[in-house]
């Protein structure tokens, strides 16, 4: 270590001219600020701006030059033997020289910055402090990178080609690693991964030259070879560590999800989509497609939501196209009738928006915020497009038939909040006739959820308790103040929550079922003829719709989670006998509503 200090001291003595240059640059901002052409003489902001630019330029420039020359120049000039002819260990040579170079970089930076910082501390901390910290850290990286590059280039060895290939492979590997996080907009994970890789690479770049000097010593090509032999395995280890981290993050299972989770299941075939933030994995959004046997298919890079076709034969989702533009999406589809089917890119691009599949999955309607467009997925062809929405809106839509799309839309609340009333409009887009027709207007309602009858002929606005005609919007019935998640059954029965009861409104009669406790009730639908599943208070209640008796209670269970499409308001019958997705605590399972049997996921993987 004494030898390293001795070398560092000696090297620093050679940097006198650099420090004198820095001193001259430190005075320059003050001279510039009193130039006659300036209106405000001695303006602190001007002094700080010039000093900051000079300090930044000198700091980075010094690290570039010293990185390229500290070892590289004496090595190519044959002067490194000066140290190797003395009782000095190779590591001491590197530590001494690198320390001197880094001190010189930091010192030259500080010499330029210090006078202006003392003159105008406030301006410094506002404008330059964050940049300067990055500059100093960046200079450290630049120094090591320049040293490696200089060693490689100066050797004029064929090894340079291999280095280039390995460097390209490293960049490729980093891109592949960053991709899942970048696509899912996981900025915190990107920072963590960047930190892991950054610290790892800096350590490798700092340590590898010690091996270079130990095994390459005074010979340029042997030095290059020794550096490469230490550098690339080190880089590989860092990449493996990064890959292990990425692998661990993306290996999250549905049971690892926490917080807000999106679950969609098509009762038609039993396929399920699950997406949400994974536990202990920062802001990683994990998504899964579960087959009817419970097999988990990890999806990627990112599905924000998925829409099943009504027949359950296909699913569509949107994936970001470019990690640098995460809001630009492309629609993908997958055939669910074949286990070995692969996702298919449709070539349909959209910004953030909503979409719905036709009942047979052959067509897709996309609402990009202003325009509704209808595409044929098989032919990858735009069938029709119309600008429907002048203002931001929310709404629902569904294919009445392959050629007819019905949209129920209302402008977003902007001022008065959730209690301001809006007027939903019902519009039909006819692809065959190429017409857009407003078929009806609903009376003003508070922002609420819109659910439809299974055939779409009636609409029920939750909270408002308003039942209207599905095409004209004409009011059919009013149920008063009801809960957020009502349901219309196949026989026309309307099931709503009214404070502490579940009201079952048949065409000819009405029953009120007292809930066992307080809290919202989510009416999930008929799980068997005349049997309604209601989620309430962390349990699933099975209620006989004819007698109003709560027949069974499944405690600590949420579900069945059968929101098969985010925008199609028509419920699907869930009494198909297929297992339904539920959640018990953190664990997802398939649940047989008739027997109550639960099967954990992962069986069919």
């Amino acid at each position: 270590m004494n030898a390293a200090i001795l070398i560092a001291t000696r090297e620093l003595r050679d940097k006198t001219r650099l420090f004198l240059t820095a001193l001259a640059l430190a005075i320059l901002p003050f001279i510039a600020s009193v130039m006659p052409m300036l209106r405000q003489k001695g303006d602190p902001n001007l002094v700080v701006t010039i000093a900051g630019i000079l300090a930044f330029s000198l700091g980075v420039g010094t690290s570039v030059i010293l990185g390229a020359t500290t070892i590289g120049r004496p090595l190519s000039d044959g002067r490194l033997s000066f140290y190797f002819s003395k009782p000095i260990a190779p590591a001491s040579i590197w530590i001494g020289k690198a320390t001197a170079a880094l001190i010189a970089t930091a010192a030259s930076f500080a010499i330029v910055a210090l006078p202006s910082w003392l003159y105008a501390r406030g301006e410094w901390s506002q404008t330059w402090s964050p940049i300067m910290t990055s500059t100093l850290l960046g200079s450290l990286v630049v120094f090591f990178v320049m040293h490696a590059a200089s060693t490689m280039v100066r050797s004029r060895s064929a090894l340079l080609a291999i280095d280039f290939l390995l460097a390209a492979a490293t960049v490729g590997a980093i891109f592949i690693m960053l991709r899942p996080f970048a696509f899912s907009g996981a900025t915190r994970l990107l920072s963590i991964l960047g930190l892991i890789l950054g610290i790892g690479f800096v350590l490798v770049l700092a340590i590898a030259p010690a091996f270079q000097l130990a095994f390459g010593r005074t010979d340029r090509r042997r030095s290059h070879a020794a550096l490469s032999k230490a550098l690339w395995p080190g880089v590989a280890i860092v990449l493996l560590a990064g890959a292990a981290f990425v692998g661990w993050v993306v290996s999250a299972t549905p049971d690892d999800l926490s917080g807000q989770i999106v679950v969609a299941q098509t009762p038609a075939t039993g396929w399920t989509f699950i997406s949400g933030r994974a536990l202990h994995r920062a802001d990683y959004q994990a998504s899964f497609l579960i087959d009817p046997k419970g097999g988990i298919h990890r999806t990627g890079p990112m599905w924000w939501s998925a829409a099943f076709s009504r027949d359950g034969g296909s699913v569509a989702w949107a994936e970001p196209v470019n990690p640098l533009r995460p809001r630009e999406m492309e629609i993908y589809t997958r055939d669910l009738t074949r286990d070995d089917a692969r996702p298919v890119a449709t070539g349909i691009r959209l910004p953030f928006g909503e979409f719905v599949l036709s009942d047979d999955g052959r067509r897709i309607a996309i609402d990009d915020g202003h325009t509704l467009s209808i595409h044929d997925l098989g032919a990858k062809r735009l069938l029709f497009s119309a600008r429907l929405f002048e203002v931001s809106h929310h709404g629902n839509m569904f294919f009445v038939s392959p050629n007819l799309v019905r949209v129920i839309h209302a402008p977003w609340q902007t001022r008065a909040g959730r209690d301001e009333r809006v007027t939903p409009v019902i519009t039909e887009v006819d692809v065959a006739r190429r017409t857009v027709t407003n078929t009806g207007t609903v009376e003003p309602v508070r922002t609420s959820l819109c659910v439809a009858s299974p055939d779409g002929s009636r609409l029920l606005f939750s909270r408002n308790g308003l039942l209207v005609d599905g095409r004209t919007g004409a009011t059919i019935a009013r149920y008063g103040d009801i809960g957020m998640w009502p349901a219309i059954l196949r026989d026309g029965t309307v099931v709503v929550q009214k404070k502490t009861t579940i009201a079952i409104q048949r065409p000819d009669s009405a029953i009120d079922v007292a809930l066992p406790g307080k809290g919202s009730a989510y009416i999930r639908g008929e799980v068997a003829p005349g049997k309604i599943a209601v989620q309430h208070g962390g349990s699933i209640l099975i209620i006989d719709a004819r007698t109003g008796v709560i027949e069974r209670t499944y405690a600590h269970m949420q579900g069945p989670l059968v929101t098969w499409s985010p925008v199609d308001p028509r419920p699907l019958p869930i009494d198909t006998g297929r297992p339904l997705i539920v959640r018990e605590g953190r664990h997802f399972a398939f649940w047989n509503p008739k027997t109550g049997e639960r099967t954990p996921l992962g069986i069919g993987q």
Binding site: N2, P74, F82, F84, S85, K86
Partner: protein
Amino acid sequence: MSSEMAIHADRVTVRYGRRTAVDDVTLSIQSATVYALLGRNGAGKSSLVRAILGHLRPDHGRVAIFGEDVWTRRATLMDRVGVVPEEADAPPEMRVRDLGAFNAKLFSRWQQSAFDERIARFGIEPRVRFGELSKGQKKQVMLALALATSPDLVILDDPTLGLDVVAKKSLFEEVIADMADRGITVLITTHDLGSIEAIADRVGILRDGRLVLDEDVETMKERFRRIRFAKEPVVLDRGTLTTANVRRWGNGTEAVVTNFDDLAFERFRSEAQLERVEVSSMSLEEIFIAVSGENGVQS
């Protein structure tokens, strides 16, 4: 390996890409001797010296200094070794006195007074930066640095390069001779064969990376002779005398014999009935030319 050996190179090969600079060289240098390593430019001298100093790892073979592997024990061994490199390698920004101060903190047996005296004798101003010195002065500073470490072994790689005639004479007659007297082992590579001949105990000649001669100077000079035949060219080799560099000389022939022996030569002379024959001993330079010249042969 004997502990008497200052340097032992065992089957050392150094390659630069496809080019072989040092080819399977085995070399031993006894302690307290002056060994002159000779060779034409590009023969591999500097590469061998770099391998001996542990500056470069041989592709094959190993080198020991004072019985210790120089590649693994270089840092320790360099405390006993003074080096004057072919190209002066001190940082050009350093002042001469700073070079001394730098070495003083690294070498356990550093003699500041010896350094100061030698620098003064060379007429070099200690305040001058190394880069401002002439080529010869740089060599002198490097020499002063090497000798002030009180070394057991001094390696001089072409130390006369850039020195004037007086300085050269001083180097050989005073410095190296003094080191030899004090029992310091000296390995020197030089092209100044006339000067080294009087001082070297042993000589090694490298040609195309191979050590083609490695012998005591006296023994070598005993066995090398130049023979000139005044008349017809004569076939000399009759199984007893080995020739090198046979060439026409006037109307006759000149041959260099590498294993000259008086008795054998007289027998050959009488058998061949030769009358006008001139036998002369050879200088180190002449032997070097015969061995490492374009038509040189391995002895």
